[in-house]
Amino acid sequence: MTGFRTLWQVALREITERARSKAYLLTTGLTILIVLGLIVVPDLFGSGTTERTVGSVGSGNDVIISTAVDLGNANDEPDDPPSIALEMVAFDDRGTAMSALEAGEVDAVLVDGEEIIVESVGGFAGSSFVDGLQRAAGTVQIQSVIAEEGETATNIIQILTSDPLEITTLSRGDPEESESRTMVAYFGLLLLYLAVLLYGTWILTGVTEEKSNRVVEVLLSSVRPWQILGGKILGIGSLAIVQLLGTIVVALIALRVTGAFDLPPVEVGTVLNLLLWFVIGFLIFAVLFGAAGSLVSRTEDANTIAMPMSMTAVVGFFVSITALNDPDGVVATVFTFVPLTAPFVVPVRTALQAIPLWQYLAAVVISAIALAVFTVIAGRIYSGGLLRYGGRVRLREAWRSAAG
């Protein structure tokens, strides 16, 4: 057990020295500030009313505009300011209206309730505005068609803005739960991706630093390589988790306070599953980053040597985005069995309940074996690479010179 006691000492040093460093405090503070900003700022500025000016030529436009306002604001809470406000400006003819549009005095021009003139088609902000007017025009037409039946405009707006069909999905549980699982999976994925890139780099540069300032030879004279690498991963991993959890807690509190959007209820199973894969994923990448760090003597070279791992993480991230859209697809299935991408893909497929049990278990087994194998290989490369100073150590050289 003294072996693990030593490992813990190494981890403890990482934690106390790094937690005291300005860099750690600064990144923690900055991350929290950015997350807070992302939540709070849109709430301060973005919750106001969308205001547009619509030019009108001829007749039959005012009913469309007022209907568009009714449609757009149908789901507003009574206390909130309206989502949309449209102002109508009348023009005598098409020509003057178009020059007003060109001058930016109006955002669109309606002609006789039958034509809409805009500067261009496309763009994110413009299209939803035009869509709103299109829907309003459609509503007005429906209204005129069925006016004889006695339906009023308000009823039609109610019908059009509600979801009359109840959604039932093939997977068990209600759709709201499945939506929450998807969201949790997405955030878990994002966190793993960030953790691998950010904290993986810490491990990498930490190892390189110990090599470049030669302290590693003092350490290795009494401590085994696996204890140093293991302690480093444990220490930095703990700091990573504290930083991530801190950020998450702050984000949750901010969401609660601002009410930016409603948090769906989250299943415990989803979170546990996510945690399991987070740990597996982080550890696999961590040992690889550690081994890579031992191959270079200068921190300047560390980034180059990190490329293969960083690229793999990027691939894993994009594959799992694909999996979000097509969880049963070939891509998602294949990458479930690849050790370095499984931690990204499997939680997503699990959340969407699109993974057969055997595939899930196979992925766990493959990843666990890969972790064990990588740990042995990385440990050997690490111990072989550490005492070879100078330029970049080649993998084979490091492997051979390890004391074994």
Partner: protein, 295 residues
């Protein structure tokens, strides 16, 4: 007792060790000498299992060295290394902890050694804020922090001022007197002669001379001769048999001669000239032995 026996080690085509053997008993201090690149560092790293020898054995008290034994050894590598941003006391305490000391013992020992090396007021300073000499003191303290039974120090005196050399010599003497086995490498041969009873000289990976300094001197086939005369001493060399090496400096002549040379006859001859001012005839110095051994 540390016993290193017939170590061989190659790095690719480079043969770093080709038969390296020496031993250090508890309570003794061994000077490990050799020219640059002779294999000193490689041999020392092998003791700490940092390198695996191709053949040969390293034993401590007759047993092969296991990882746990390393906790009772102290090492000062040639490549000095400490965490630059860590406080010197924290650093030492950490290394003490890694060697299995309790938290309070490690801290106490860290402060003790910093005081011993005159760094009592720098306890809270980061290592990078210390001068080169002071960093080296901390480095030696790092090897001593856990009160090891064996001390292996790779060039502990290089780059130190005379005062620091004094302190460090004193500490090493104390350690040997306290029953520790001490081995250190150095190029400062006078210092080694002062400090060590035993020496091992390694050349091209092989230990070529090994034993008690005094015995080695006595049994050496050479003698050291030094004289000073009025006038040019170089003309006298012709009357001396078995001359291996000479060097003149003004009126002073230094020569390495065979041990069996008839010195009495030579003195008599020089005295006839009537101008001898100074004459010494001694066993060779360690420097002489060293030069002979690695020639």
């Amino acid at each position: 007792m540390l016993r290193v026996q017939d170590l061989h080690k190659s790095f690719g085509a480079v043969r770093a060790l080709t038969g390296c053997s020496f031993e250090v008993a508890r309570g003794h201090m061994l000077g490990f000498l050799g020219p640059n690149g002779a294999g000193k560092t490689t041999a020392m790293r092998t003791v700490f299992r940092l390198l695996k020898p191709d053949s040969g054995t390293v034993t401590w008290d007759g047993e092969p060295i296991r990882p746990d034994d390393l906790l009772r050894f102290g090492y000062m590598p040639e490549q000095r290394g400490l965490y630059p941003k860590m406080r010197s006391s924290d650093q030492l305490a950490y290394l003490g902890r890694l060697h299995g000391m309790s938290k309070s013992d490690a801290r106490e020992s860290a402060v003790f050694w910093l005081n011993r090396f005159g760094l009592g007021d720098r306890v809270d300073d980061a290592v990078e804020a210390l001068s080169h000499g002071n960093q080296q003191r901390v480095q030696l303290a790092a090897a001593l922090i856990h009160d090891p039974e064996l001390l292996v120090l790779d060039e502990p005196f290089s780059g130190l001022d005379p005062i620091a050399v004094e302190t460090m010599s004193e500490v090493l003497r104390e350690q040997a007197a306290a029953g520790k086995a001490v081995v250190f490498s150095s190029h400062q041969l006078d210092l080694v002669e002062d400090l060590c009873e035993d020496v091992a000289i390694i050349n091209a990976g092989e230990v070529v001379v090994n034993g008690k300094v005094e015995a080695l001197k006595d049994s050496a086939p050479i003698r050291h001769l030094e004289l000073e005369v009025d006038g040019d001493p170089s003309t006298l060399v012709g009357f001396l048999d078995g001359v291996q090496r000479t060097q003149t400096n003004g009126q002073r002549l230094t020569a390495i001669i065979s041990a069996d040379t008839d010195v009495r006859g030579f003195i008599a001859h020089v005295q006839e000239q009537g101008n001898l001012r100074h004459f010494t005839y001694t066993t060779p110095s360690l420097s002489d032995l060293f030069r002979e051994a690695v020639r």
